[in-house]
Symmetry: C2
């Protein structure tokens, strides 16, 4: 059996489990996002600000994915939100099976929104459906404006782009308009937000949009 | 045959090809570094500054690895250095076979130093030997100080850490001493440099060290 065949079988099995997860989330009316980005783009910081903004407005649970450590789950737990950590032990992405295991360990009673924070990796998580409603990709201005062109699959498979660290634009080599233009060239239907976790810019707009998706109009 | 067995066979084959590459580099007296980091940490910018500093001092060639586009190879070619681009078409890391193919396409005549810039990914390239003398990992201060703990394999397998974008420390949530402490906790033998491609800080020190490794005392 060739490597390609094995990979196809792995992805096929993943898609089956993802579909089971999707049905579970639908039955329980839980809106699920898969938060993806490079390491250090600010996924956890955005999540902290979002949880703070949405406190009392919607019931949220979090699944944290990391190659190693539970540092991110500790940060989220401090906000009083149900959270479970998946440590992949070297694995470069979450998969539907890992998420299914995590579901069994987290209190999803009454949850309306589940945020799955993926491993920091702009390549591999693009190919793995977890059963989410949508992928939300975070791109930091500090990474430069060419990343959508260089890592197109992630931007193609995402529904939302959050451009983070916009407060740093004056100090870094990144043209914000070019970054958005490059992303929309790869995926014209991307919904784009601009945020800063230092100034809180854009957090309200993004959080309100997410709230609308989670609990409807 | 299980997925694990297939993966072992893939890595075993990779190690064989890496060993061939290593012998080739040794026979031709070429010092080779494998430059790794997250997307947007500044690998290409550091390389541009290094090439500029080392101009006339050592003969350099470059292999650029990217998931998509030849934007980085274009940047390097402008500096008059022999360069070849590997586009992985979705692949999350370079491997020894891709490098072997690239060697056949690049002018290595008289080359003393070969820089292989890997795909931006802090996870997968850690496991793939390309035949290099050493891995050099770049960590940007904008990614925060916890990355060595969260992505330990890359820091464990590297010989050198370049902490880049130190000019941005005043504006970001990163304790430089903690970042270095975390990296040295994972790998106490890491040689650490601090650089900024905006102010050119640290470029001379790093380049001189690399020059020493490439052409000897």
């Amino acid at each position: 059996m060739s490597v390609v065949t094995i990979e196809k079988k792995v992805l096929q099995k993943n898609d089956e489990l993802a579909q089971q997860n999707r049905l579970f989330f639908a039955r329980n009316s839980i809106f699920v996002i898969n938060l993806v980005s490079s390491p250090g783009s600010g996924k956890t910081s955005i999540l902290e600000r979002t949880l703070d903004y949405l406190k009392g407005k919607v019931k949220i649970a979090v699944i944290e994915g990391d190659v190693q450590t539970d540092l991110d789950a500790q940060r989220i737990a401090r906000l009083g939100v149900p959270v479970v950590q998946i440590v992949t032990n070297g694995g470069c992405h979450l998969d539907a099976n890992l998420v299914q295991n995590a579901i069994a360990k987290i209190n999803l009673k009454n949850a309306e929104l589940l945020v799955i924070e993926n491993v920091g990796n702009l390549v591999c998580p693009a190919g793995y459906d977890l059963g989410e409603a949508m992928k939300v990709v975070v791109a930091s201005t500090t990474e430069g404006d060419d990343k959508p062109l260089k890592y197109p699959a992630m931007f193609r498979n995402a529904s939302v782009l959050i451009v983070n660290k916009i407060d740093l634009v004056p100090y870094v080599d990144c043209n914000l308009e070019q970054l958005k233009k490059n992303a929309l060239q790869i995926n014209p239907s991307l919904k784009v937000f601009e945020t800063s976790c230092t100034t809180n810019a854009g957090i309200a707009e993004w959080s309100e949009w997410l709230l609308g998706k989670s609990v409807g109009p």
